[in-house]
Symmetry: C2
DNA sequence: CAGCATCCATCGAGATACTG
DNA sequence: CAGTATCTCGATGGATGCTG
């Protein structure tokens, strides 16, 4: 109670920062795009599309445009004739690797926690995690 | 090219883990709920609602239920008469603090990057970040 | 107090087809 | 090749009102 105002201010700032970061990585395909570019470094549109797999042109295009606006991705239209466009991460984009790792660690751990105990009770949760969305 | 299959497999696993983690923190209020419980440790429904501010009963209720299913939050119905329900983080829930910090760091840094250069070009982005969603 | 029921607006994303 | 244009659908969240 006594410390509430301080905590409130700080938490609110932090919460906003967290929301910024979440928004940055939001969208079903955003992390995958960044990962692909972390590994491959430079890819053009169709390569990226194949690399990721399952994403439509429209959605990928929108995703890239957003990342470009956020200065995560750099878009380079190649010289005439080729008709290709290359994408690569900016330095800022590359700096997201650490966060993605942290997310990955949490994701893995979470899956272990969920499946490690009381399977019956968490059946629905499991279905959600394994069945619908993130199936291999 | 040569290493592609390996990378593919590994990346896919990682991508799924990342999606799990993102899904875990998904929902507009989820990070705020976790933060509130990290700071306050134990809160009942209405306290939580006030602490967060701006969230409706319905949405908060749904958010808590989801977190409970994911073993992030523990729900304790208090003895008779009080009619209160307490919420607190599980150990697993508490372990999310590190990830939230990392997200916060990225969020802060991102805001600096976006506002640090070429303001004109990124006006739209700024509006998005400051105006609509994450305004103070 | 805690939370559910209902209605409604918005939005992300998939499918499909088309263009410079 | 690198997108854009529609259209549709489902999920999310806000507002409001009601209950044990």
């Amino acid at each position: 109670m006594i410390q509430s105002s301080n905590i409130h201010v700080q938490c609110r700032q932090t919460a906003i920062a967290i929301n910024d970061a979440m928004e940055l990585l939001a969208g079903k395909w955003t992390p995958r795009v960044i990962m692909a570019l972390l590994v491959r470094e430079i890819l053009c549109f169709t390569e990226l599309k194949k690399e990721i797999g399952g994403v439509s042109s429209k959605v990928l295009s929108a995703s890239l445009k957003r990342l470009e606006q956020h200065l995560i991705v750099e878009r380079n239209v190649l010289p005439i004739q080729t008709g290709k466009v290359e994408y690569q991460l900016t330095d800022h984009g590359k700096s997201l690797e650490k966060l993605l790792e942290e997310l990955s660690i949490t994701g893995v751990k979470h899956r272990i926690v969920l499946t490690g105990r009381n399977v019956t009770e968490n059946a629905r949760v499991e279905v959600k995690l394994y069945g619908t969305k993130n199936a291999l």
